[in-house]
């Protein structure tokens, strides 16, 4: 009884949790998401009105007089409200749906638009940018797009089926092994939102999120320039010790830090990891404490992820390593 009461009390919290703006399709900041938002309200309001009308007719039939019942059961009413009206509504919705699908989901990807390759990997996102000059660079767990410009996302997967869903930007699209699915997105407002893998892909599926950053066009070019640059050299003695530990302890076998000997490709590229909005695919805040937690205890934070926990470092070494990684801005 008490358990049921606790669960009932927790239900409103779940509902309130759904009101969060940063991963809500009800706060669109992309052209595709805006169309989905309009469709949602057309369907919800239209469906609500029809449901209310059916309820009203039901109440009339139960409590109304025989005259009302005769009207409701007349052949014209049955054919009109039961056949012709649904047929007309469904036809209109089909036309509207087909129009939206042509405009968004099936719109051909514009040639010459910036291309971002996103690969779903259990349980993080490899993101590779290729700009108009043919410059290519790699990052992870963040998708940066320019506002007002259509960007082609080439979606693939390294292992199982994932689904790329940035609710504020566009609809979702599956990442299927052996295929490259193209999704064209156009951000309409600058800002930061959150995305999520929308296809169950294993134990840590729920922790496979990402951040979408929509920049004004000039700011995007600056960001891209910064991201293309090699990693910042360590500033302090502590950061230098951290870099030394990073390179000596084998971290570079899995992670790349451009401008150093670390050139691993198994895990996320860490060249500018300190400038990212989060760690562990939007699982932790990006700060030194989170780096330390992740290095030592990542299997508790994200069970079965590809990185083993490293408990070989002393507290001082861990501090230095975290400082170095946090300084890679």
């Amino acid at each position: 009884m008490r358990t049921t009461a606790r669960r009932s009390a927790a239900l409103p919290l779940l509902v309130i949790g759904g009101c969060s703006v940063e991963q809500s399709a009800l706060h669109p900041t992309g052209a595709g998401a805006e169309q989905i938002y309009s469709l949602f309200w057309v369907m919800t309001i239209g469906g609500g009105l029809i449901f209310a009308a059916v309820l009203l007719c039901t109440l009339w039939a139960i409590y109304g007089g025989s005259g009302i019942r005769r009207t409701l059961s007349a052949e014209g009413m049955i054919y009109g409200a039961g056949v012709f009206f649904p047929a007309a509504v469904l036809s209109a919705l089909l036309g509207y749906g087909l129009y939206l699908m042509q405009e968004s989901a099936f719109a051909s990807s514009p040639t010459g638009a910036p291309q971002i390759a996103v690969s779903g990997e259990m349980w993080w996102w490899r993101v590779q940018y290729r700009d108009a000059q043919g410059r290519s660079l790699e990052s992870a767990n963040e998708v940066h797009v320019p506002v007002g410009e259509t960007v082609n996302l080439a979606l693939t997967t390294k292992d199982v089926i994932h689904s790329f869903w940035a609710p504020q930007l566009a609809g979702k699209l599956d990442m299927i092994p052996g295929r490259t699915n193209m999704l064209s997105v156009t951000a309409t407002k600058p800002g930061i939102s959150r995305g999520q893998c929308a296809e169950y892909c294993g134990g840590a599926h729920a922790l496979m999120s990402f951040v979408v950053v929509a920049h004004p066009a000039d700011e995007y070019a600056q960001w891209l320039d910064g991201e293309a640059a090699p990693a910042k050299a360590p500033d302090t003695e502590r950061e230098k010790l951290g870099q030394d530990l990073f390179l000596r302890s084998g971290c570079g076998a899995c992670h790349a830090v451009r401008g150093t000997a670390a050139a691993g490709t198994i895990g996320p590229d860490l060249t500018h990891v300190g400038s990212r909005k989060s760690l562990g695919a939007a699982t932790l805040n990006n700060d030194e404490a989170s780096f330390k937690r992740w290095i030592v205890d990542n299997q508790h934070i994200k069970p079965e992820n590809g990185m083993p926990p490293y408990r070989i470092f002393t507290e001082a070494e861990l501090d230095a390593l975290a400082a170095y990684l946090d300084g890679l801005a």
């Binding site: 056949v83 036809s91 699908m101 042509q102 099936f106």
Partner: protein
Amino acid sequence: MSLFARHDSPVIGALFFLLWGPILWAGHLTIAYGGQALLCTLAASSADFDAATAIRLLIGVTTLASGLASVFGAVVPRLPFRLLLRRRPVDADDGTLIGIMRLLSALASLGILFAGVTTAVLPVCAQGR
């Protein structure tokens, strides 16, 4: 006596008559979806194969044939009635059977049209979602 159990007409015939439209609709969906999947698979393995034309032709012909047959059932139900029940409609029960069949056939015609139009309007062999 129920609508179906009459000594002078086959029950299975009455069932097929009643489901004239839905059966055509089911056939149309099977050919449309199955044919499209098959032709898209062929197109993926052969660069010379024009899947779009083949699919539009297949679904256009299937939609036209099944749609017309379904509309025909809704407009002239007495012919399929005689064909499937091997007798003429005689009483109120037969009238009810015909009424339900016409309604289902009309709705099935709409369903066939919806699926056919969708294939004509959207790109064929588009990426999986």
